[in-house]
Amino acid sequence: MSITRKWTTYLLLIAATLVLMFPILYAFSISFMSGAEVLEGKIWPSSFSLENYRDAFEKVPLLHYLINSFAVSIFVMAGQLLVSSLAAFAFVFIKFKGRDAIFFLFISTMMIPWEATMVPNFLTAQKLGWINNYLGLTIPFFALAFGTFLLRQQFKTIPNELYEASQVAGISRFRFFWNVVLPVSKTSLVTLGVYSFLTTWNMYLWPLLVTNTEDVRTVQIGLKQMQTQEISTDWGVVMAAVVVVILPTLLLLFLGQKRLQKGLTQGAIK
C-alpha cells in the first residue's frame, strides 16, 4: 500500500471514528457536568464530579434495574441458545419429511413484525399471569428464527461424518447433540449469545408493556422513566444513567467484537 493511501485511510478512519463516537463521548462528558454547565452548552466538563452518578442511582433504583436487565438478558440468552440449537440440530442432522417446509416456516417468521403480534401477545402474557414477572419478559423470546438460522449454518459445517461416526459407535442422538455439536459450535454459540444478550438488554417496547413494578423493570425502561421524570431538571443525571446503561453492553461488545463478526457473517450469508 502506498504511503499516501495509507495515510488517507488513517485520516478517514480517525475522522469517521470521531464523528461516530461523538454522541457516546458527549454523553460521557455531560454525565460529569453540573446543571449550569449543561445549560451553557459546554462540550467538556470543568471537573469530573461523580455527583450525577450518585443522583442517578438515588433517583431511580438503577442498580436494581441493572440486575433485572442482567437476569432477563442472561435468561433469554440461555433460552435462545438452547431452543435455537435444538431446532437447528433437527434441521441439520435429522432427516424427515417436510423438514424444508418447516424450515421455511421458521424463516418466514422473521418477516412477521413483532408489533403486529403485540396486542394478542400482551393478552396471552396476561392470561398466563406473566405480567410483572421474568417469565413474561423472557419466554416469548426463546424461539428465534435468526438464531436457528445462524446455528443451522454453523451445524452444516460440521462434517456429517462426525454424526455417522457416532451412529456407528452407538451414541444416542441427544448425546451427540450435547457432547459433540454444541462444544464444536462454541464460536457460533458465543456469537449468538452476545447477540441475544445485546438485543435483550436493549429491548424496549415489550418490557414497557409488561412491567409496571420496580421489581422486574429493566434498565431501559428505567432510563425512559428517568427521562420523563428528570429531563428539564437535570440532563447530567439522565446522561449518567445513560452511561450506566450502555457501559455493560459496550464492554461486552468490545470483548466479543471479533467473535461476533465472525459468527454473524458466517450465519448470515453462507
Partner: protein
C-alpha cells in the same frame, strides 16, 4: 362486556404484615418527591397499611398501563387518573366508585371544595377521590416585563393585551429571536381551558354530561378564538413553539427563551423556586374581559380498582381519607401548587405562611373560586378524550405549518367525531 371477575383477589401483605396498597401515579420531579414524603408519613403514622407508590410515566402513559392490566391481579389498588380520563374510567367497569365507601363510612363530603368534587360526580355519584386539582394560569417573567417597559404587576388579561405585551417582550438579535413573548404547550388541556374560560363547550349534550357525547363542538367561535390567537402570534413572531414536553416548556421559560406561557398551577412552586428571576402568575387570558367564565379544573383524582380484596379496598380508602385531611392537603398545596381539596386546609398556618412567601399560589386558588359553574367550566365527559387531545395537538402543530386555524380545528373536530363514533359502539 367486562372480563373482570367478581372474585376478589387475595390481599397482599408486606413482610411486616401490613396490607399492601399499590398506588400508581404520574407525579414526576418535585411533585413525586412531595408525594413520596406524604406517603411515607402515612405509612409511618399507622401499622396496618403500607402504601407503595409507583411512577408510571405521564398521565397518558399511566392510563395506558392501567388499561392493560385493569381487572387483573397486576392492577394497582389506587390509580391516579387525569381529569379527562374520568369517563373512560367509569365506562371501563374496572373501578369501584368511592361513593360506596363514602356511604359505608358516612364520610362527610361537604368538607370538599364543590368546584372540584363535582367534576368527578356523575349522576350524583362520586366516582373518584379528588386529589390533585389544578387550573391553568398565565406565568410570566417579571424581570422581562420591567425590561420591556411593562408593568409587572399588571399582566395582560385579554388576548389583545397579551399580543401587545408579547410584542414588546420579543427580543431579537439580528434575525435570531433570543426571547419570545409567549408560548403555549402543544397539549390539549390548554386548548380545552381556553375554550371553557369563554364558556365554550367541547362536545355536545352539555359537554357529555347529559348523555353520551356524539359530536365535537369545540370548533365553534370559542375554539377559533384560541386557535386564531396562536396563529396570529406565531405569524407575528412573538410566539414560540415549545413542542409537547412540559419540561421543555418550563426549561424554555427558565432559560428566558419565553417571557410568558401557560402552565398548570401544579408547576408553579417549582418554577418560582428555580427561576433566576421573579415569576408572576395571573389568570388565564380571555378574548375580552366580559367573556370570562372562569376555568375548569385540571389535574387528577384517585380511583379505586375493582377486584381487589375488601381488606385492600378498606386500606386504600383509609389512605384516600388521609390524603383529604386538611393537614395533608395544606402541605400538598404549598409544596405542589395543587389546590386543597379540603378548603379548611387554607386555614392551616403553613398555608398562610407560604402564601405570604409565594403570593403566586393564591392566584390559582382565587381563579377557581371566581369560576361560574356551568357545563363549560365543569369540563367535558368523553371516553375518547385522550385520543381527541391528540387530534387537537396535531391541529395546534399544523398551525405552525401554515394551515388555517379554522381548517385545523375542523379537522380535529372531524377526527374526534370519528373517535366518538367508534367509541360509542363499544
Amino acid at each position: 362486556n367486562s372480563t373482570g371477575s367478581s372474585e376478589a383477589q387475595e390481599t397482599k401483605k408486606t413482610a411486616s404484615g401490613k396490607t399492601e396498597v399499590v398506588f400508581w401515579h404520574a407525579m414526576s420531579g418535585d411533585l413525586e418527591k412531595s408525594l413520596n414524603k406524604i406517603v411515607d408519613e402515612y405509612n409511618k403514622s399507622q401499622d396496618k397499611v403500607e402504601v407503595k407508590p409507583v411512577f408510571q410515566g405521564t398521565y397518558e402513559e399511566a392510563q395506558t398501563k392501567f388499561n392493560t392490566v385493569a381487572g387483573t391481579k397486576d392492577a394497582p389498588a389506587i390509580m391516579q387518573t387525569f381529569e379527562v380520563g374520568t369517563k373512560f374510567m367509569i365506562d371501563s367497569g374496572k373501578i369501584q366508585p368511592v361513593q360506596k365507601f363514602i356511604d359505608q363510612d358516612h364520610y362527610d363530603t361537604s368538607q370538599w371544595e364543590k368546584n372540584i368534587s363535582s367534576y368527578y360526580q356523575v349522576d350524583g355519584k362520586q366516582y373518584s377521590m379528588p386529589f390533585n386539582s389544578s387550573t391553568p394560569v398565565l406565568v410570566y417573567n417579571k424581570d422581562a416585563f420591567k425590561k420591556a417597559g411593562l408593568d409587572p404587576e399588571n399582566p395582560p388579561k385579554t388576548y389583545d393585551e397579551l399580543k401587545a405585551a408579547a410584542k414588546k417582550l420579543t427580543e431579537k438579535q439580528g434575525n435570531k429571536t433570543s426571547q419570545y413573548g409567549f408560548s403555549i404547550l402543544n397539549y390539549g388541556w390548554f386548548f380545552e381551558e381556553l375554550v371553557a374560560s369563554q364558556g365554550g363547550l367541547y362536545v355536545d349534550h352539555e359537554n357529555g354530561r347529559k348523555g353520551d357525547a356524539e359530536k365535537a363542538v369545540f370548533n365553534g367561535k370559542e375554539g377559533q378564538n384560541a386557535f386564531n390567537l396562536i396563529n396570529d402570534m406565531y405569524k407575528e413572531g412573538t410566539f414560540y413553539n415549545v413542542g409537547q414536553n412540559w419540561d421543555d416548556m418550563r426549561a424554555a421559560f427558565q432559560s428566558k427563551k419565553i417571557a410568558m406561557f401557560l402552565d398548570s398551577s401544579a408547576g408553579i412552586k417549582t418554577l418560582v423556586d428555580n427561576a433566576p428571576f421573579e415569576v408572576g402568575v395571573s389568570d388565564l387570558p380571555v378574548p375580552k374581559e366580559e367573556d370570562r367564565q372562569g376555568v375548569a379544573i385540571g389535574g387528577a383524582s384517585l380511583w379505586m380498582s375493582k377486584g381487589i380484596s375488601d381488606e385492600t379496598s378498606k386500606a386504600a380508602w383509609d389512605f384516600m381519607k388521609y390524603l383529604a385531611t386538611p393537614e395533608v392537603q395544606a402541605k400538598w398545596h404549598v409544596e405542589s401548587g395543587y389546590f386543597a381539596v379540603n378548603p379548611k386546609a387554607y386555614d392551616q398556618e403553613i398555608v398562610k405562611k407560604e402564601w405570604r412567601k409565594y403570593p403566586q399560589l393564591k392566584v390559582t386558588v382565587d381563579q377557581l373560586h371566581k369560576t361560574k359553574s356551568t357545563p363549560a367550566t365543569q369540563g367535558a365527559l368523553i371516553s375518547v378524550f385522550p385520543e381527541s387531545r391528540q387530534k387537537v395537538v396535531t391541529g395546534m402543530e399544523s398551525l405552525y405549518q401554515g394551515v388555517k386555524p379554522k381548517e385545523a380545528l375542523d379537522q380535529a373536530a372531524k377526527e374526534t367525531n370519528r373517535a366518538l363514533e367508534v367509541g360509542n359502539q363499544k
